[in-house]
Structures are given as structure tokens and as C-alpha cells.
């Protein structure tokens, strides 16, 4: 990717260049058209939107850079996104995250639609109401209708906020698959066989926060997911990574509870913090495949097919190779424009297919957008609904 000289360019100019670069490549690779220049921003089939709408959100907790995804050298890593999903989707090339670039706090910011400012490594609830609380309180939805599948123990409190008007009892159920798996294993010898699925956090590998929140525990597993601990452990053994475990749990939720709002956070890509480029690429390829698997599951399940919006976005990017303050793909610490500029895929009923939107949007715009889709008001969010999705 050829970016303007950072010393002689404003962050806005660099972000625009990133956006245009993504668009040019997509137009070449997929023949995508630009919504802003051809169709305007109104939905294609807005008058045919389904009742009983459902939404599945997938965030990458460990951003992937354009160099390894949407640029020519990276396309080999994301064949499913490029050739299976994007032809059916609207692609937003310029999603900006102006908040703290730590995975828990950034995901919490996306979930609340407001930039949260707490310590990324603290076991705390978001300060602002989450999308799950708006959804359940405003629409009077039951607890079984909103779920989060989260990658590490640090996300235990992502389901509901500390806000005095919302909070405990109004949020989403949180499933931490790795914690469940740990509990399901009966011995240390078992744990050894499953350790490839149990790594908790790549950024601070030794971080093991105190758990607190509305996360599901092992004794609820059979009741909620119709899955015995033994069956769960046996199936987990066939999986290659923590993200595969998360997607397996997400599919179980869809099959047995059919929640209207399901949020899945993938995390394998964050192995990049170890400095191993090949493992980072493996994580990207796995995320690409798992996103396609989720879409296929949606299409095959009568509870979801034809009435589900799928939204995929990294929580933020990673440092550029150019910024001397960082070490390229390894981290997201410089706060440079590349690490703040990411993308979003939106697909489902009423959303234009094979379309590219260059207009900048904020990652905090997602929750108000979901509010417009479902009919709740994200009153404490600082974002705005994205018209190309609602």
C-alpha cells in the first residue's frame, strides 16, 4: 500500500488514502461498485425487510492490517471474505476508532457506542450501557435473546454495564469458552491435551483477571446449550484454536436458543504480539474461514436464514511498518492512523450487495445502527446510525 508521507500529511489525508487504496483493490478483485457514487445511501430492499430480525456481530480482537488482507500480497489470506462474503456485502473502507487501542476496552467501546476509558487490563464493566441492555430493556427481550461469546477471561464483564439505569440483570449472557473448557476437564492430564485451546491472552500472556460478571458456568452448559461437559470436551479436542472453540459455541447457541442478538469476538490474530509473522497470518486465514462458516450456518438455519444481518469488523488495526515508534504488525501501540483505521462488512436483508462505501464512519456508530435495525434508542452512544445498513 502506498501511503502519503506521514511527515507531510494529516491523519485525515492518510486515512483517506487507506480508504481509497482498499476500494481500488476491491474494485479490481471483486468488481465492487461504490455506493456513494452510484446508488446513494438508501437501502436496496428496505420495504422488504423481514420481521423477527436477527443480528450477528463478529469482531476481531486483534486487528489485521491491509497489507496482510486487502492489498495484493494479502489477498491469499482472505479468500472467503473476498470471494464468498464481499460479493454479497456492503464494505465500509474507512472505519475509524478514536479510542484506546486495547482489545477489551475497544470492544467495550464498540459494544456501548461510546469510547470507554477504563484500564484495558482491569476486570470492570463498561461505564456506558451496552447494546445488549438497550436491546433487552427497551424491547423487553428475555435473557436468552442476547449472548456474547468472548475470547478471554478479561471479557467476563462485557455483557452489561455499570450504568445506574441499566446494569445487572439487563445485559447479555457471556460465554467464555476457554473457561468452560478448563472447568470441563477432569484432570491436569486432560488440561495438557487441550492447552492449545486454553491460551487466554496474547498481548499480556500472563494476565489472568479475576472473573466477575454474568458469564455462564459449567453447570449451566447442559441446560443452556443442551451439551454435556463430556461431549463439549470431546468435541473441543478436535478443534485447532480458541477461535474455533468460540465459533463452535456460537453455533450451539444459534441451534438451541436462536438469540436475536449474538456477538462473537475472535482473537487468534493477536498472536501477532509474539512477533511471529507466520502465526499472525495463520490467525488471519482462520478468521477468514470462520466468518464464512458463520455465514453458511446463518443461511442453513431456518431461524436465521433471510432475516439476519451479519456485521464483521476488527476492533482496530495494527501499527504500520513505517512508524518508527512501533514494530510493524506486532503491536498496536503507536496510535498511528493505520492502527486506528479499519473496515466493516455488512450483509443481509436490505443491505446492498457488492458495494463499497468510502465515507468515514466511527466504530461507535455500530450500536446506534443496531438500534435503528431493532427499534431501540442507544441514548448514551456518541455514534450515529449508518444509513447504508439501516
Amino acid at each position: 500500500m502506498h501511503l502519503p508521507d506521514p511527515k507531510n500529511s494529516t491523519p485525515h489525508e492518510i486515512a483517506q488514502a487507506i480508504s481509497l487504496s482498499r476500494r481500488r483493490f476491491l474494485q479490481t478483485a471483486t468488481g465492487a461498485v461504490a455506493a456513494t457514487t452510484i446508488f446513494g445511501s438508501s437501502p436496496l430492499r428496505a420495504n422488504a425487510l423481514p420481521r423477527n430480525r436477527k443480528v450477528v456481530v463478529v469482531t476481531f480482537g486483534g486487528g489485521a492490517r491491509d497489507d496482510e488482507t486487502f492489498m495484493p500480497d494479502g489477498q491469499e489470506n482472505i479468500p472467503h471474505l473476498l470471494y464468498d462474503l464481499l460479493p454479497q456485502a456492503t464494505f465500509f473502507t474507512n472505519v475509524v476508532n478514536q479510542g484506546i487501542l486495547g482489545h477489551y476496552v475497544a470492544t467495550a467501546s464498540i459494544v456501548t457506542g461510546a469510547y470507554e476509558t477504563f484500564n484495558n487490563f482491569a476486570a470492570v464493566s463498561p461505564n456506558n450501557p451496552t447494546v445488549f441492555e438497550y436491546f433487552r430493556k427497551d424491547l423487553k427481550r428475555p435473557a436468552t435473546d442476547a449472548w456474547v461469546v468472548a475470547p478471554s477471561n478479561g471479557f467476563a464483564r462485557i455483557g452489561e454495564s455499570a450504568h445506574k439505569l441499566y446494569g445487572p440483570g439487563l445485559g447479555a449472557g457471556v460465554i467464555l469458552p476457554k473457561r468452560l473448557l478448563t472447568a470441563a476437564l477432569s484432570s491436569a492430564a486432560d488440561a495438557t491435551r487441550y492447552e492449545h485451546l486454553l491460551r487466554d491472552n496474547y498481548e499480556t500472556p500472563l494476565y489472568a483477571p479475576t472473573l466477575a460478571g454474568n458469564q455462564i458456568e459449567l453447570n449451566q452448559l447442559a441446560e443452556v446449550l443442551k451439551l454435556s461437559a463430556d461431549d463439549f470436551a470431546a468435541h473441543a479436542r478436535s478443534l485447532a484454536s480458541p477461535d474455533e472453540l468460540s465459533v463452535y459455541i456460537a453455533k450451539q447457541l444459534m441451534r438451541h436458543l436462536s438469540p436475536s442478538l449474538l456477538w462473537v469476538t475472535l482473537h487468534d490474530i493477536d498472536i501477532a504480539h509474539s512477533g511471529t509473522f507466520s502465526l499472525y497470518i495463520d490467525g488471519i486465514k482462520r478468521s477468514d474461514r470462520l466468518c464464512a462458516e458463520l455465514w453458511q450456518t446463518i443461511q442453513k438455519d431456518p431461524e436465521y436464514a433471510g432475516k439476519t444481518t451479519l456485521l464483521i469488523l476488527p476492533d482496530f488495526g495494527r501499527d504500520s511498518d513505517i512508524d518508527s515508534g512501533g514494530n510493524g504488525f506486532q503491536h498496536h501501540r503507536t496510535g498511528d492512523t493505520l492502527s486506528r483505521t479499519t473496515w466493516m462488512i455488512a450483509m443481509g436483508p436490505g443491505i446492498r450487495e457488492n458495494t463499497v462505501v468510502d465515507r468515514p464512519i466511527q466504530s461507535t456508530d455500530l450500536v446506534p445502527t443496531l438500534g435503528s435495525l431493532f427499534g431501540f434508542e442507544a441514548r448514551y452512544s456518541t455514534g450515529k446510525p449508518v444509513p447504508e445498513v439501516v
Binding site: D73, R199, P205, A208, G275, T276, F277, S278, G335, D336
Partner: protein, 400 residues
């Protein structure tokens, strides 16, 4: 405490040369804002263990700041003075623990959305300080060499993909005794015995080289790595873990505590320890270690010659198994390591480009025991490919 309250006694715990320098600059330090002084002290407190290039850089900053009129100094410091800090930061022991202050300042700036303003101020300051006193001309052009792919028999990954536009890609390189050939080229450049001007970094055991070539190897650091890994494992198995306290523990580890004290070069010992305590992944992955060591050597020592030999890293496993790798023979991942090292070579070239006289610098990367190499130099074409047979010694001779 605020900078204006500083006295020479505040620096009593500093090492001798750092203490003297702080005392000499105390009038200047008193006139600078809290968001700036601890960052300067973070460099100053380690002055006794700094490389010559780092000392020159710190001296240049003091020369620049002391050369400003009172009004100019206020204006130059204003972007930092305008940052809104907290009383808690003021109460921090930023004099004796400036690195910890720096971490907490960073967290505060992120949380209060001031990090972009800080970034802009820092970039502007560094540019002005560098412009105030240009670097003296180098005695020779710089050369960096990367050797990648040890142990890989067959490869389908398109190597040097990011570097090919910058230089000439050679497909028929004759490479008998390749590593020795390249080390000989390094030795030939290292005729002068200036300290820290010529570096050899190896992901395995280092081959014998002249003593004035600064040598760092992953294997030679096995004992310090094991000591650090034991500490990390202990923390990993604790019921409650505080990540900030953990980072502080790493930052405050002394070379002698991990077996790096006796008889060695204290400057190089400190550098090696920093690779393990400040790098991420350097403790467990040989490829990450070499890439980070090359980056830090280039950034800090600004050498004339650097030879980086990437070797296979252990295969990815859960953290406790990775940390235990010194206790048993680890399973290696040569092909993954080749991809890691290919990127590491690109980053080594990028870091070479950040140094003075980058336009004259030369770079060579060779796929070990194979016929592929890529060279970058002012005399060579960019984006070219050569299918002519060439000896590795001749290739490195063209650019050394």
C-alpha cells in the same frame, strides 16, 4: 513533585555519569514541564550503560534545548506543558522510576484522548532536535545482512516480496560456506576497533568472531532466559496477577540477577537484558529475538555493520510449554520461521533506512543454503531480477 522543585540531591541514586549529567543540566530540567522531564530522565538515568550513539543523541538534545532563548524554550515545551496531567502523576517517583512514570503517563494520555497531541509534539520535538545539530559524516556506508530459512529444504512462499521493489533479486547464487563467507565480509569491514560499530546477532549459537564485533546470540542467553522464564512461570501460576507489577518487575531486573553480571561488557549486558525484558516474544521465539535484537541494535547503537542470522524458532504452544522450552529439546518450525524471518529481514532493512546516510546504505538477504538472495545498494537496480550465476562472496563484495 514538579520539575521546578528539582535539586541535585534528587539524583543521588543515579549511577555516577548519569548523576553528573543531571546535575549539570538541572537549570534546564527545572524549566521543562512534567510531561517532558521524566521522558528525558528515562534516557538519562541509563546514561552509564548507553551506547556512544545514544549518548551523542542525548547530548544533542541538551545542546538543542540549552540553545533556545527563554521564550523559545517555553514555546518548544508548550505542546507538552499543555497536556493535562493528574496529581497522581505528580506524586509519582518520576525521578527515580521514570520508566514507570512513562508507562502511567502513556495510559493516562490514552484514557484522556491526549495521545495524538503527545505524538505530534514528540515527533516535532525530535525533528527539531535532530535538525539543530546534524550528524557527522560516517567513515563508511552502512551494511546490514540477514540470513534466513535455516533448515528449510523446500519452500513455496514467495520470498523477499516486500524487498524486491527496492533491489535486485538473485536466483542463481553459489553459496558454499555461505554463513562463513558473510561473516568474513563483516570481519573485513570491522577493521577499526570502535566499540559497537559492528554487530553479529544469531538465533542459535554464535560462530567465533573478533572480540570487538558486538555479539549477541539466543543460545548464549539460555541461562538468563531460563531464569526469567522461571519468574514468568511463577507469575503465570499465581492465583492473582497484576500485569503492571509484572512489567515493573521485569523493568527492574538487574543483569546480575539473571546471570549477566560477571566479567562481561556491562553495556552489552544491559542491552541483552533489555531484549528479554522489553521485547515481546523474545524470551520464547528465536525468530522474534533476532528481529527485535537487530531493530534495537540499529536504533540504539546505529552500527556501520550488522549481521543477523535467523534460525528456526520452536513451534507455537501454550505459554507454559513455551516458557518451559529450556528444560527440554523444543520441536522446531522451520517453514513458519522462514516466513517470520522474511518479514524480519524486511524490518531490518526498514530500520536501516531510519539511520543517517540511509541513502548510501546497503542490504543483503540470503536464503540459507539456497540460491536465492536479494541485494539493495545505490549501485544496484531496483525491482530487477538477475538469473546469472554469482558467487555469494562476489555479491557481498559488490556492496560491502
Amino acid at each position: 513533585m514538579l520539575p521546578e522543585q528539582l535539586t541535585p540531591a534528587n539524583f543521588d541514586a543515579y549511577p555516577p555519569e548519569a548523576k553528573a549529567l543531571a546535575a549539570a543540566q538541572i537549570d534546564l530540567l527545572r524549566r521543562l514541564p512534567l510531561a517532558f522531564v521524566p521522558l528525558l530522565l528515562r534516557e538519562l538515568i541509563a546514561y552509564d550503560w548507553k551506547f556512544p550513539a545514544e549518548r551523542a543523541d542525548l547530548d544533542r538534545q541538551f545542546t538543542y534545548l540549552n540553545g533556545l532563548s527563554p521564550e523559545q524554550l517555553v514555546a518548544a515545551a508548550a505542546p507538552f506543558a499543555n497536556l493535562k496531567l493528574t496529581v497522581a502523576l505528580e506524586k509519582n517517583d518520576w525521578i527515580n522510576s521514570p520508566a514507570i512514570f512513562s508507562e502511567q503517563l502513556s495510559a493516562h494520555l490514552w484514557a484522556t484522548h491526549q495521545i495524538d497531541a503527545f505524538r505530534t509534539a514528540a515527533i516535532d520535538y525530535v525533528a527539531k532536535a535532530n535538525a539543530a545539530k546534524p550528524d557527522p559524516p560516517l567513515p563508511m556506508h552502512r551494511l546490514a545482512i540477514a540470513v534466513i530459512g535455516q533448515g528449510v529444504a523446500k519452500n513455496d512462499y514467495r520470498l523477499f516480496r516486500k524487498l524486491r521493489p527496492q533491489g535486485t533479486y538473485y536466483t542463481q547464487v553459489k553459496h558454499a560456506n555461505g554463513v562463513k563467507t558473510l561473516l568474513d565480509a563483516v570481519a573485513a569491514r570491522a577493521r577499526t576497533e570502535w566499540p559497537y560499530n559492528h554487530w553479529y546477532i544469531d538465533g542459535g549459537a554464535a560462530a567465533p568472531v573478533a572480540s570487538h564485533i558486538a555479539t549477541v546470540s539466543y543460545t548464549s542467553l539460555a541461562a538468563p532466559r531460563a531464569t526469567l522464564q522461571a519468574r514468568m512461570t511463577k507469575t503465570y501460576e499465581a492465583s492473582v496477577f497484576d500485569p503492571e507489577a509484572f512489567r515493573t518487575m521485569l523493568a527492574q531486573t538487574k543483569p546480575e540477577e539473571v546471570g549477566l553480571g560477571a566479567g562481561g561488557d556491562p553495556v552489552l549486558n544491559r542491552f541483552q537484558l533489555s531484549l528479554l525484558t522489553e521485547g515481546s516474544g523474545t524470551q520464547v521465539f528465536a525468530t522474534t529475538f533476532v528481529q527485535w535484537a537487530a531493530r534495537e541494535a540499529l536504533r540504539r547503537a546505529q552500527p556501520l555493520t550488522l549481521f543477523a542470522h535467523f534460525t528456526p524458532r520452536q513451534r507455537d504452544k501454550p505459554m507454559n510449554e513455551l516458557l518451559a522450552e529450556t528444560q527440554k529439546r523444543p520441536e522446531l518450525d522451520p517453514l513458519g520461521s522462514l516466513i517470520d524471518a522474511d518479514m524480519g529481514a524486511y524490518y531490518t532493512w526498514l530500520n536501516l533506512q531510519r539511520l543517517p546516510e540511509a541513502e548510501k546504505a546497503a542490504f543483503l538477504v540470503w536464503f540459507e543454503d539456497h540460491q536465492e538472495a536479494l541485494a539493495i545498494a545505490p549501485s544496484l537496480g531496483r525491482g530487477k531480477q538477475s538469473d546469472q550465476s554469482i558467487e555469494l562472496a562476489d555479491l557481498v563484495g559488490q556492496i560491502a
